[in-house]
């Protein structure tokens, strides 16, 4: 018996470029921050802008994450997602206004308690609304994008008008709870306290979402459902139930985002959801429809870029997001982190 021929395969070494490609989107955020630093040329203002950009990005992420998951899981595009943002903001802010004594007191504990109550009320309201929305509006039009877009747009109009009926057509101005007002100063840089809170909440939501999606059984089912729903259903899981759950969770997150966005702007209008929707769409498109990580990176990019541009060249701020979207789509037409579908 002869010995097996000598076999020593030489693996072509993957280039640095190939190894970096999957992480490229994540590297874009620090790269943009550095570019922003070069453009702003003032450490103090750069710090302020970066924090406010991150805060804005986190809030957009919270609002957008539900939309992208719902799309990934069931191929349902919900143009009415903005309605949850508005309703969340109105319910939450109404609760805050009703708890005026707690928000007016200069005690951090009482303030946070009031905000927590507002957030819970808003999330409960939007979760219920999400459930109803799914049952009444989205369910009959599964698998038909055209009708989905039309019908959910109709739902958005109705929700917006009902808000006007219930709360009146005027915008509502208010002030943040006492201890969340004002700014902290680091050297020359002034950072609003609320923005730090927003960044913190955003990070917690992102971490929690990743934990649920990566470490729990339900997350496994959701991720598998995104990749190949039929197979998951064939294995005996009731994907429909999972989907309703994701829709409700996404609506509740949009409500949370609405309250935070309202507190950030200190004014709420019935159209705020509609306006937020535009940023949300840009974020989910550049992130890759269906991808939570992509949505997170996209939201941070949009937030940072908008703040830097508004400081350096205010006139361009309006089109900066569109330009970002165009650039990203030229680089990766399916979005930064495309979702692989087994079809």
């Amino acid at each position: 018996m002869t010995a097996a021929p000598e076999h020593a395969p030489t693996m072509a070494r993957t280039t640095l470029r190939d190894r970096l490609a999957p992480y490229a989107p994540f590297l874009l955020v620090p790269a943009l921050a550095v570019a922003g630093f070069l453009a702003v040329q003032n450490p103090a203002s750069w710090l302020t802008l970066t924090v406010s950009g991150l805060a804005m990005g986190m809030m957009i992420f919270i609002m957008a994450s539900g939309l992208t998951l719902v799309f990934g899981l069931m191929d349902v595009i919900n143009f009415g997602h903005g309605a949850f943002v508005s309703v969340g903001a109105f319910v939450g802010i109404s609760v805050l206004l009703a708890l005026g004594q707690m928000t007016g007191a200069p005690s951090l504990g009482l303030n946070l308690l009031a905000v927590l109550a507002a957030v819970l009320a808003a999330m409960a309201a939007t979760a219920t609304m999400g459930w109803a929305f799914e049952r009444v509006i989205v369910k009959p039009v599964y698998g038909n994008h055209l009708s989905q877009i039309l019908v959910t747009m109709g739902g958005l109009i109705i929700a917006e008008q009902l808000i006007i009926v219930l709360w009146g057509p005027e915008e509502i101005y208010f002030t943040r709870p006492e201890t969340l007002k004002g700014a902290l100063t680091f050297g020359d840089a002034a950072i609003e306290k609320y923005r730090l809170v927003a960044v913190g909440v955003g990070l917690v939501v992102f971490a929690a979402m990743r934990f649920v999606l990566r470490r729990t059984k339900i997350g496994l089912i959701v991720r598998a459902g995104v990749q190949n729903g039929e197979m998951v259903a064939a294995l005996g899981y009731r994907l429909r139930l999972v989907f309703v759950g994701v829709f409700i969770a996404g609506s509740a997150l949009a409500g949370l985002g609405g309250v935070m966005w309202g507190l950030y702007q200190e004014v709420i209008t019935a159209h705020m959801g509609n306006q937020a929707m535009i940023l949300i769409f840009i974020v989910v498109i550049i992130g890759g429809l269906g991808s939570v990580e992509g949505c997170f990176v996209g939201a941070l990019l949009v937030g940072l870029l908008q703040n830097y541009i508004a400081f350096v060249e205010p006139k361009l701020a309006l089109i900066s997001n569109i330009a970002l979207m165009v650039a990203i789509l030229m680089w990766r037409p399916m979005g930064m982190i495309p979702v692989v579908k087994a079809k």
Binding site: I149, L150, F281, I282, I285
Partner: protein, 356 residues
């Protein structure tokens, strides 16, 4: 003759044909049949919206693509005429230049947006147009030095189209059937004629081989691609055509109003109106645009009276007066919209033609 004018796409229902004929006659002789500033204004609005809605139907009904930027193209045409009339002086040449440039710009913009989004996924198009359209709307109200901002632009159209211009004094004594022969009448017929030509052109487009391919793509894009049609090219072409026609309709609207502003041409509300007109009239039939636009514009003018009546009737009850207040009519339109997408997907024309 009629068959070739309509590009072989007959109404295919006696009742539908009769309604269309009545609408055509009413619009053709509106200044004589219904003299009065408000009714003639309504007729002109119907003409323009028929074209606008038909051009949107080319996209939505025939191409199966949802766009939220149609008012943007409409606005580009309107602002084109307004800006050229302001800067080049009043005259027919500046109207033509403005309308032409507007249509070209709209088509170019549609080409860029289409190439970016349609090559990936048709659904991207809906989202991207929404983002671009709202950015443009904000931009227009921001750069007030050019566009007049929120106030818009008032401009002069040629003297021959103004109410001060009288004609036919010798022939008819300045009046025909009790209607004063002045520039306003000429403007109405300019609008009517322009709309009719654009409408017949659209009818020609959707009944051409191009239109058939577009319908095939709507039904099954994968299969159309497999047969050998370049889906992206067809979709992008449809987008450009529809944008150009929308811009021309916008030019007509600007000529009629002698004013442009963000509220009259660019607002999201008009976009929703267009969507509703297409759905009510019937997606995928150009005639649906006629029915939808006529019904809707008439309802817009007269429904609000009904609602204020209901509102005062329910006075004293909780919330109900608020729900029926004339300002809330968008609410009821939204409900109507959803119901018609569910239960009435082929619209009035589809029902009349007996398609289920």
């Amino acid at each position: 003759m009629i068959r070739s004018l309509l590009s072989g796409d007959m109404p295919r229902s006696k009742f539908l044909g009769a309604i269309l004929l009545v609408i055509l006659i009413c619009l053709a002789f509106a200044p004589f049949l219904f003299p009065g500033v408000r009714t003639v204004d309504t007729a002109a609005r119907i003409c323009i919206f028929v074209v606008l809605v038909a051009s949107y139907d080319l996209l939505l009904g025939y191409g199966g693509i949802v766009s939220f930027a149609h008012t943007m193209f409409f606005g580009i045409g309107a602002y084109g005429v307004a800006l050229s009339s302001t800067h080049l002086g009043r005259g027919f040449d500046s109207l033509i230049i403005g309308a032409g440039l507007g249509a070209i710009l709209a088509a170019a913009l549609a080409l860029v947006i289409g190439l970016f989004s349609l090559r990936v996924r048709a659904i991207f198009f809906a989202m991207i147009t929404l983002a671009v359209a709202s950015a443009v709307a904000v931009l227009v109200s921001q750069i007030s030095s050019v566009t007049g901002g929120e106030d818009g632009l008032t401009f002069k159209i040629p003297r021959e189209l103004g109410p001060a211009f009288k004609f036919g004094k010798d022939l008819f004594g300045g009046e025909l059937l009790g209607v004063k022969l002045n520039g306003k009448l000429l403007t109405y017929y300019l609008i009517f004629g322009g709309s009719l030509i654009l409408f017949l052109t659209l009818l020609r487009i959707v009944n051409s081989p191009f239109g058939r391919v577009l319908q095939a793509i709507r039904e099954n894009d994968f299969r159309a691609e497999a047969i050998g049609y370049r889906v992206v090219i067809y979709r992008v072409t449809a987008t450009c055509l529809s944008a150009a026609v929308a811009a021309l309709a916008g030019s007509l609207y600007a000529i009629w109003l002698r004013y442009v502003g963000p509220d009259t041409t660019l607002s999201m509300e008009i976009m929703i109106d267009i969507l509703l007109m297409v759905v009510i009239g019937g997606m995928g039939t150009i005639y649906g645009a006629v029915i939808g636009a006529t019904l809707f514009v008439l309802a817009q003018n007269y429904l609000q009276n009904l609602m204020s009546g209901l509102s005062s009737m329910t006075e004293g009850l909780p919330i109900l007066p608020e729900l029926f207040s004339p300002d809330r009519w968008l609410l009821w339109l939204g409900v109507l919209f959803i119901l018609s997408v569910y239960f009435f997907p082929t619209g009035v024309v589809g029902r009349l033609r007996g398609q289920r």
